[in-house]
Amino acid sequence: MRAAWNRAGSKTIAVALAVLVTAALLLASGASPIESFRLIWQGSVGSGPKAADTLMAWVPLVLAASGLVVTFAAGLWNIGVEGQVVMGAIAASWVAREFHAPSAAVITVALIAGIIGGLLWGLFAGVLRVYGKVNEIFGGLGLDFVATGLVVYLVIGPWKRAGIASTSGTDPFPKEAWLPTVGDKLAPIAIVLAVLAVIAVYFLMRGTFFGLRLKAVGANPASAYIIGLSTSRYLLSAMAICGGLAGLGGAVQAIGFQHKLVPAISGGYGFLAILVVLLAGFRASLIAPIAFFFVMISVGGTQLSLRLGLNSSLGGVVQGTLVLLTVLVGGWQVRRARQRVRLEAEG
């Protein structure tokens, strides 16, 4: 109980500090902080269409983040998540371009392809780790570059627009492959998938033997091995689950948001998801609101440029400040706690 209070307290201090720092930044840029926060609010959830934009950006971030909860539980730093998003998008784009069938069929197959694309890429990093003894951070980073290289190659090469070689992106997919929307932007299927993913990961980690064993593997692989758990199988499963969810995020980006394949299809949501999960303290229950807060700042931050003429990088600065301060405050608390223990021991 006390630990929970401490955690909540540290988060509150971090958020309060981040708000203060951001306000100072805004003042220094010559803008009113209150007006700026109001614009971010208005521009992200203040109207139906804006809320739709925010939700659509939330989906890939939440999907990647829920996947990362699983890999972090297994003690894996799955930096390759970015590449897994990209591979999901590539696989879904391939279906959207090549598979001609009624809309429901194309979309279903494209989403499944996205899951498989991401899953295989995640598994690849896992195999490198388990059988090749390549640390998943380096393996994942390498595979991120390979995925980015592949998407640029496809966009500028085999999938280029006729007579054009540009990293602008492919031709838009046929309309049958677009996720159906309510209004202009909101694709309910995408939202449902993201919510289901969060719930599934929550129960997977809390209510199943698999989750429990995964945590055991993550906490102490040697002991887990001694008590008879197949460490490799759990590590590979975690990578596959995370890859699949990230790949699904990539698929939604491709057929639900950009409606074409662009080199920046991942939108950096994979890397951003790592920050979300760090901030959430690796808990599935906190991912959805924290991810929502992040995308509110990104989507709403545009208004700071549009309405106040401010540099739009401010949104990213706010996100970075928040994570930095949370980690700082968290580290400071840990140090204080250690000190107290030492003092008590000495006294």
Partner: protein
């Protein structure tokens, strides 16, 4: 310990404050006049508004409109999928319309899908897709249904011919390099125009043969996006390392000139020609032979006036320089600002060349001309039509480099 912690926080605060001051945006001054008072127009830029290139030229045209009419610009820069993954062009159009914009300029070829979608969604809001061709009835991508979306573009072919000529008049090695963005109709015709201007001046003013070496290297986008495009700084360096002594830039930003400036400072005889923005030479004046630039102001002012007087129509406009004075800010859409690196002799020949282009005595798109693969483009004496120039399917014979993706 507490004091140290506090100091650390103060340090962090001050660091952020410093960053904020550095990031602070430029304020815009407006001279009001009656006609556009209270009117808002949107300006969507693909790159940063201070890129010393394509986007800044548009941004400053927007400021020109503000000064001339008293209207207010709503601007959003860096609208591309790498810089703003959560934003699409049609979303920006929605935002600007919601904010009261009565006219929107989408200023990049890259915005095609988004602006077509936005124009469909807001049929009552006049829009311009600059460098596009959807409003050209004779063009390949005519969209008769979009009565609210016009196109504006300058005949930069002339500016590029002048640039090519300046390069050929200066080159000591006879090797020129063209730093290209991505490959499409627009960039093929602009690269070809540089080549034509260079080849003409190499032979006619320098008295050389047809031995000018002209290579094109494409980076993949209008500006550098690390990881997604080739690095223009590396490409420019590669050109110079390979014996090229003048690099002509076709991208939105000024890397070629920066590299040339660094090398010239180390006593190398190299030069560059940037693109798009009148003030681009300022990055490295002595290495700069000049810059062919767009002056979007007059064309955009014509569009804004048509909207203010309710006479807007979605036209395709492809305007040239005002040959009476190609640098007249109020009349000429395409200009050439000579750089400090251009010698007096070269400048004299260049003026003669510009005069020839202006009075029509020099028309470089006249046959015989072949495409890069040797197939005929224009027969002897045949002059290219606008359609042939706009939609060039290949580079020209004599140019080394890709005509389309492999």
């Amino acid at each position: 310990m507490r004091v140290k912690g506090l100091l650390r926080l103060v340090f962090i605060f001050s660091a952020f404050a410093l960053v904020a001051t550095a990031c602070g945006d430029d304020s815009t001054t407006t001279t009001t006049s009656a006609s556009g008072e209270g009117f808002k127009f949107g300006m969507i830029l693909v790159g940063p508004q201070n890129d010393h290139g394509w986007s800044q030229a548009h941004y400053e045209a927007g400021q020109y409109l503000e000064q001339k009419t008293g209207a207010t610009m709503i601007v959003l820069d860096k609208v591309n999928t790498a810089d703003r993954p959560e934003t699409t062009v049609d979303q920006v159009i929605d935002d600007m319309v919601a904010q009261g914009a009565g006219l929107i300029f989408a200023t990049s070829d890259d915005m095609k899908d988004g602006v077509l979608l936005g124009a469909e969604r807001h049929p009552d809001v006049p829009m311009i897709w600059s460098s596009g061709d959807n409003a050209w009835a004779d063009g390949k991508d005519y969209r008769a249904d979009l009565a609210n979306l016009g196109n504006e573009m300058g005949r930069m072919e002339y500016g590029k011919m002048i640039a090519g000529c300046a390069a050929a008049l200066t080159s000591e090695t006879g090797k020129l390099g063209y730093l290209g963005p991505l490959i499409n109709d627009e960039t093929r015709r602009l690269a070809s125009s540089v080549f034509l201007g260079a080849d003409y001046c190499w032979q006619n003013y320098r008295g050389m043969g047809d031995d000018l070496s002209f290579s094109v290297n494409w980076i993949g986008f209008w500006f550098n996006i690390p990881g997604f495009t080739l690095d223009p700084t590396l490409v420019a360096n590669d050109f110079f390392d390979g014996g090229v002594d003048v690099v002509i830039s076709g991208i939105d930003t000024t890397e070629a000139l920066v590299v040339a400036g660094q090398r010239a400072a180390a006593d190398e005889s190299v030069w560059a020609i940037p693109y798009d923005f009148e003030g681009a030479c300022a990055e490295a004046p002595n290495a700069c032979l000049g810059v062919p630039y767009f002056n979007w102001g007059p064309a955009y002012l014509r569009v804004l006036n048509s909207v203010l007087t309710d006479s807007f129509s979605a036209d395709f406009n492809w305007w040239g320089p005002d040959w009476a004075d190609i640098n007249n800010a109020d009349t000429s859409g395409v200009g050439w600002e000579a750089g400090a690196g251009l010698s007096a002799d070269a400048a004299a020949s260049l003026d003669e060349f510009i005069a020839g282009l202006g009075d029509g005595s020099i028309n470089l798109y006249t046959g015989p001309l072949n495409y890069q693969d040797g197939t005929p483009f224009l027969a002897a004496g045949e002059e290219a039509t606008d359609l042939q120039i706009w939609y060039m399917p290949q580079l020209l014979e004599g140019m080394v480099g890709a005509s389309s993706a492999g």
